[in-house]
Amino acid sequence: MGDCLFCTIQHAEKPPVGGVLYEDELVYAHHYVPENRPAYLGHVMVETKRHIPDFAGLTPDEAQAVGLLITRLSSALKTCTGAEKVYAEFYGEVTPHLHVHLMARYPETPQEYLRWNLSDWPDAPRGGEDEVTRLCQQLHSALTSTSGVS
């Protein structure tokens, strides 16, 4: 746990770019920003607070909270980015702390970049700290101004 990337982000030893999108006792969300290259705008991580590797290890409360947060952020991403749809992907192969990737799929995404190739699309909307921070502010107000669900 000591060197877990997500525990480190959540404990604010290394605060995420754009700040915390959502946090309660069980779950946490922030925008994903890779090192040394622009971020894919609309790539958000949903995580448990507890250092637990996968869905199988969740308590019922955590499982419900993760489902609800995926829904609320998917709705906010559609509103704030113009995404046609939001993918949700759980791989869990590298860091054994539950994290679900939410990916905004833009309407103009070419067919060959759909599904797991989304972030390889060279013309995908990307940005640095400023753009990510601006999007996070919009997402944050979309989450707080409504219940986030239709």
Binding site: Q64, G67, F90, V149, S150
Partner: protein, 151 residues
């Protein structure tokens, strides 16, 4: 990709209940079954978690549906570990083909070489595969496991 509920294959399947192995779990909000491949042997340990309501993605779920789907993914993941011997369980939502929320939940077995991880787990020659009987047997074990409220 934008089927109405009347022409949706997922709605039709849920209403008829006609899936190999039968429904693994269902309640008022959600439904789960094992995927069956009619053309070649089926990879054992690939299930789908779906909403009952014809709704395209997570963004449109009610809070109760969102909670139920989160819970179902978690319970199916446990069932795949307990009943199929998976050492890891993936969960993906894309929804590019059928506009009715369905999450792919599937096993990765111990010893799977890294080049077959993720969406290629079924291409590993030693991954367990089967026909109607094997799929039905696994679905039955998972159904029994999930019928226990503690699971």
């Amino acid at each position: 990709m934008n089927q109405t509920a009347e022409e949706c294959p997922i709605c039709a399947k849920q209403q008829s209940g006609d899936v190999v192995g039968g429904p693994i779990y269902q309640d008022d909000l959600v439904f789960a079954h094992h995927v069956f491949n009619t053309k070649e042997p089926t990879f054992l340990g690939y299930v789908r978690a779906e909403t009952k309501r014809h709704v395209p993605s997570f963004a449109e779920l009610t809070p109760a549906e969102a909670q139920a789907i989160g819970m179902l993914i978690s319970r199916l993941s446990r069932a795949l570990k307990e009943c199929a011997g998976a050492d890891h369980v993936y969960a993906f939502f894309y929804g590019d083909h059928v506009a009715h929320l369905h999450v792919h939940v599937f096993a990765r077995y111990p010893g799977t070489p890294e080049e077959f991880w993720r969406e290629r787990v079924d291409e590993w020659s030693q991954s367990p595969k089967g026909g109607v009987e094997e799929v039905a047997a696994l679905a039955q074990r998972m159904r029994a496991y999930l019928a226990d409220g503690a699971a």
